[in-house]
Amino acid sequence: MKMKATGWDTLPPIHAQVADEHATTAPTPTGITVSSNWLRKVLTFAMVMGPGLIVMEADNDAGAVSTYTQAGAQYGTHLLWLLLLLLPICYFVQEMVVRLGIATGQGHAAMIYQRFGKWWGRFSLVDLLVVNFLTLVTEFAAIALAVQGMGIDPVIAVPVSAAALVALVVTGSYRQWERVTVILCVLDIAWIWLAFHADRGGSASRVVHDTLVPTMPQGGIKPNLVFLVIAIVGTTIAPWQLFFQQSCVADKRLRFKDLNWSRLDTAIGATFTIIVAGCMMLVGNLLFRKHVPFTDPAQMGAALAPTMGRTAHLAILLLMINAAVLGTTAISLSSAWAYGEVMGWPASLDLKPRQAPRFYTAYGAFTGLAAALVLIPRAPLQLIIVGVQALAGVILPSAIIFLQLLLNDHELLGDEYVNRSWNNVINWTIIILLFALSIVLAAQVVAPNVFPAN
């Protein structure tokens, strides 16, 4: 079935379009036959899992590595409890996205455009594209920083990374992209090894205590602490995640019967991500214990080399690159999917580049331009980082409001997939909390003198 790309005014369901093409060309579905019910469950989960793990682990991107290790370096283990608090928040927000994606088979940008009109559709898209692009610049800046630490020229490494990231998606196979990306996610297990290595000689009971019991660092609540807490929240729950996972679920054509497996995928992803984030804090904590100032994760790796060894130093730099690569592929895809959905273009990783040229061009353009910007001498990277934080802080609560409203859309979803009352209570609480943090963050950026430094 062929459909014409129609631009802003009408909006064909892009992922459904791919599914229609699949339906007309695909023979009777083939699968694997097993005789054990237990094996059936394991294999079904293995086939469904992916979007949840990827969206969560890609959230531990270069900015997150920097934020979590900084939190550990400045406040030791005192902020571990915050991560535990963020675990259910991450899950509840992303679970809504999964439900919406499975029920409609469409991306988040398309849903906002269709259900809230052109103004909100375009506003959400433009906001997402701007914040995502600026975030991509920070990812490539982290790659440049890490390769410099390994003695490699960023002028070579950054374009090579960008080319590899484009090569990862242009295979025309969703499954191939997902397999490689899941492997990159699993590599983050190395943070657990690093944390054990860093915490040698530390107090395990203190780690457990500070994870379970909220404690305040010495000196009490100071502006720097408040903003680090906001940065941690903003890093852990980012606007692109909503768009990414819904499009990913739609692109993978997850079925109604996959909902519970997909929820499990999201829960495992959230738990793994929070554990990895905690491990990053524990690695930073070694700087805190040694009273070494923190500048960035690459400097942290070099500062810890005499204590943890050269292997650990190299591992920190490689994990920085891995975090940036994961973040880049997920963020670029969320932009390209959203852009394609709103423009009415074919936008699927399961299409070959000649079948979805504008989708792949958008992905390549976002990735390539961000990489090029990092290589410009004296590019205003600090300004970009401030801009990313402020813009993400401003748009995140509003993005979640639309998610919440969409999940109460009885007309579209029927009674089966809309939020239950308890979902709504939890989600409005999250929205109010995020709005309060967003206003404080925006106020700091707009009027820094309102919250003078310590």
Binding site: G31, T33, S35, T44, F116, G117, F123, F256, V386, L412
Partner: protein, 68 residues
């Protein structure tokens, strides 16, 4: 679930290999979501807040850029 040689058997199909299913899509004529007056006013307030905040953030970033 089926049976092979009297034993239960299960066919597992990857979502990408399965036949597409009918989703809950926006039907022609459904149009934008129906909102209560309170929700409508709240969204208008949100729109104003976002426009003001984005202008302020942009102004602030440009100020920082020019003062470097």
């Amino acid at each position: 679930m089926g049976k092979i040689d009297g034993k239960p058997s299960y066919l597992i199909i990857h979502p990408l290999d399965d036949l597409p299913e009918v989703k809950r899509t926006v039907m022609p004529g459904m149009g934008p979501m129906k909102l209560t007056m309170t929700a409508r006013i709240s969204l208008l307030a949100l729109r104003a807040y976002l426009i003001v905040m984005l202008v302020l953030v942009t102004y602030r970033v440009f100020t920082m850029a020019t003062s470097r």
